[in-house]
């Protein structure tokens, strides 16, 4: 009997031992990884540290775009103790009081989802709004810190900067302008903070820790001069209002380096509220909108003709005594006045279309096309902004005789404002075409990458550049009765281009422009100002006075003393 009991006990121990071993095998081997992960999730707290997005600084190191703390508001439905419709209404009255019904419906739709235990309700909410929501004392609502873009200068140079939105995965991404072009440099790399915690969630000092530092996004320092940009935007807006134009733009570039000192366009938008802005305003017209340049194109055609040696400044036009008939078209001057035997300089002074047809014919279609390509017309300038577009030049085989005539005075060809600024900069820069640049330095914690001026090619000789400069100075001094800054030699040209609509030109709707550079002997800036559909249709009456008004301020801000 005793033996039997002993045997039973032994068997029980054996079975128990086998069960224990089997269970241990199950825990250690079969479910080992799963249990280890579960234990780690209980012992450790992991937090992804978002990398700070790089700032965008002006040339005086003032942050035009920086970051501010914002909050994600989320709901945990299991903990909500309020009717969802009531909650949505209360939240909307704080988040978006102007669109209560619309926002309320949106929030309610999110709250009604049964498949989620954590529902994000609003992103990138300001501190003030977060405090207002906290005052509502709603159980089941929580906040998570995040960063959002902050614009200390408001909407200054919005279309050049672009904005930060979300990609399909809900992560921050830069769109348009500098934010879009330099998104990879600006965004940085997130870090990881892993810490062992005790039962109440507090960190254990001697526990296991892992710190993977985040890599902050790089700061970008622009060539943009804050004072000039501010002044340019103010003056441009005043000009648009004064001349009742539908819009306008202005660019200031340093001809010797290609540095963009200022760039403004209106109508514009506020990048802090891009979600509610008109999406058609996101693209920057300076780099993406093509237009027929009109007479501001004449110095480029004249430069080509002089460089090719087919005309010289004192040559006289033998076909300038009246309108020119080309096929079925009649080419006339803008004011109906004709100047027989005009010199080439006088053709630019009078902005004589008939004279420019003569120059174009002397140059020939093949040469004209080659020079336009050399001046960068029809090709992207390579500016470091996202969204550059261009209208390619038509091939020579597609040209008809009237094209040579109209292109000579800037109609029938499409350019972007930045292309024309770059082309005229080549004249100001002694004949060398440069790549325009917005960003001067890319800063990391330990080094600074500096962008250097990039010469694309030589377009005309230095001698031709000097001749054209003098002709443009004459066009300013004798081409109109403008109030110019005293003591400075300015080279420039006005332009009025009719807007093509449904196969013909609308005589009432024009784009008026003025492009010029100064001081003519040692150019420090090239500036283009254009206005779309002003009440007064001629550039000489609208945009030229505005150009001189702005240039007066520029001389002051750039510290350029008068010469005489």
């Amino acid at each position: 009997m005793k033996e039997w009991r002993l045997q039973t006990l032994r068997f029980c121990f054996l079975v128990f031992g086998v069960l224990v071993v089997f269970r241990l095998f199950y825990w250690q081997v079969i479910s080992g990884e799963k249990l280890q992960a579960l234990a780690e999730s209980q012992h450790f707290t992991s937090e992804e540290i978002q990398a700070r997005r790089g700032q965008i600084l002006t040339s005086d190191e003032f942050p035009l775009v920086t970051n501010r703390k914002a909050y994600l508001i989320f709901a945990q439905p299991a903990q909500l103790d309020m009717d969802k419709a009531e909650l949505a209404l209360r939240l909307t009255s704080v988040l978006d009081p102007q669109k209560i019904e619309e926002t309320k419906e949106e929030i309610l739709e999110k709250l009604e989802r049964k498949d989620l235990v954590w529902i994000p309700l609003a992103r990138k909410v300001n501190r003030e709004i977060k405090e207002e929501v906290e005052k509502l004392e709603i159980n089941g609502l929580g906040f998570e810190e995040e960063e959002k873009r902050f614009y200390p200068e408001g909407s200054m140079s919005a279309q050049m900067l672009g904005f930060v939105g979300q990609d399909l995965g809900g992560l921050d991404k830069g769109y348009f302008g500098v934010e879009g072009f330099y998104n990879r440099s600006l965004e940085g790399k997130p870090g990881l903070h892993r810490l062992e915690k005790d039962a109440s969630g507090r960190p254990i000092l001697i526990g296991e820790t892992l710190f993977e530092d985040e890599i902050a996004g790089r700061d970008l320092k622009l060539y943009l001069n804050r004072g000039i940009q501010f002044m340019l935007e103010e003056k441009l807006l005043e000009g648009i209002e004064r001349y009742q134009a539908k819009g306008g733009l202005a660019v200031v570039m340093e001809p010797k380096s290609g540095a963009i000192l200022a760039m403004a366009s209106f109508p514009s938008y506020d990048p802090a509220f891009y979600a509610t802005a008109d999406k058609s305003l996101f693209s920057n017209p300076v780099i993406s909108q093509t237009f027929e340049p009109g007479s501001i194109f004449k110095p480029i055609v004249m430069a080509a003709a002089i460089n090719e040696g087919v005309v010289s400044p004192e040559d006289k036009c033998s076909k300038c005594s009246g309108p020119r008939q080309i096929g079925e078209y009649t080419i006339e001057t803008w004011d109906g006045q004709y100047h027989p035997d005009s010199t080439m300089t006088e053709i630019l002074e009078h902005s004589d279309n008939v004279g420019m047809v003569y120059v174009g014919e002397k140059l020939g279609g093949q040469n004209l096309l080659a020079y336009l390509k050399n001046f960068g017309i029809g090709e992207e300038t390579g500016i470091d902004l996202e969204g550059e577009a261009t209208a390619p030049l038509r091939g020579e085989s597609q040209w008809v005789p009237i094209d040579l005539a109209t292109v000579s005075f800037g109609q029938g060809v499409a350019v972007t404002p930045i292309q024309i600024v770059r082309a005229v900069s080549a004249i100001a820069n002694g004949g060398e075409l440069l790549e325009p640049h917005v960003v001067a330095q890319i800063k990391t914690s330990d080094k600074e990458l500096v962008t250097k001026p990039k010469v694309v090619r030589r377009v005309i000789t230095q001698k031709t550049a000097k001749i054209i400069t003098e002709m443009m100075v004459a066009a300013v001094e004798r081409g109109g009765k403008w109030e110019r800054p005293k003591g400075y030699r300015i080279a420039g040209k006005t332009g009025t281009a009719q807007i093509p609509i449904a196969g013909h030109y609308d005589k009432e709707k024009t784009i008026v422009s003025f492009i010029g550079f100064a001081p003519a002997d040692n150019p420090r800036f090239v500036m283009l100002v254009t206005m779309r559909e002003p009440a007064l249709t001629w550039g000489s009456m609208t945009v030229a006075p505005l150009w001189f008004e702005i240039s007066k301020e520029l001389f002051y801000l750039l510290g350029i003393p008068p010469n005489f």
Binding site: F62, F150, G154
Partner: protein, 94 residues
């Protein structure tokens, strides 16, 4: 001699054990202090960011310009360019 050594080892082990208990007790409460310091540090960083924001807002040209207008300041209408004085050594050549 042998007995004395055993006694010494025992005392040492006992003292070390007591020290470990004290150290562990002390470290266990340090976690709370650490959490508090972290919260404080986060709060100060938050305040710092907020103050930076305020400084940027106050030093923006948009703000300065509107404040200047409120104070009745107007833009200079006449700017005089000054040329540097000619050094005495060079004046004789004139």
């Amino acid at each position: 001699m042998k007995k004395r050594t055993i006694y010494l080892i025992f005392t040492l082990v006992f003292l070390l054990a007591v020290a470990k208990v004290f150290a562990s007790a002390r470290l266990a409460t340090t976690g709370t202090a650490l959490a508090e310091i972290e919260t404080q540090s986060q709060s100060l960083s938050g305040q710092n960011l907020f103050l930076e924001e305020e400084i940027l807002g106050f030093s923006s040209l948009v703000r300065i310009s509107s404040e200047a207008a409120k104070l009745g300041l107007v833009q200079a209408t006449k700017v005089v360019g000054l040329t540097p004085e000619i050094p005495i050594a060079l004046r004789g050549s004139y």
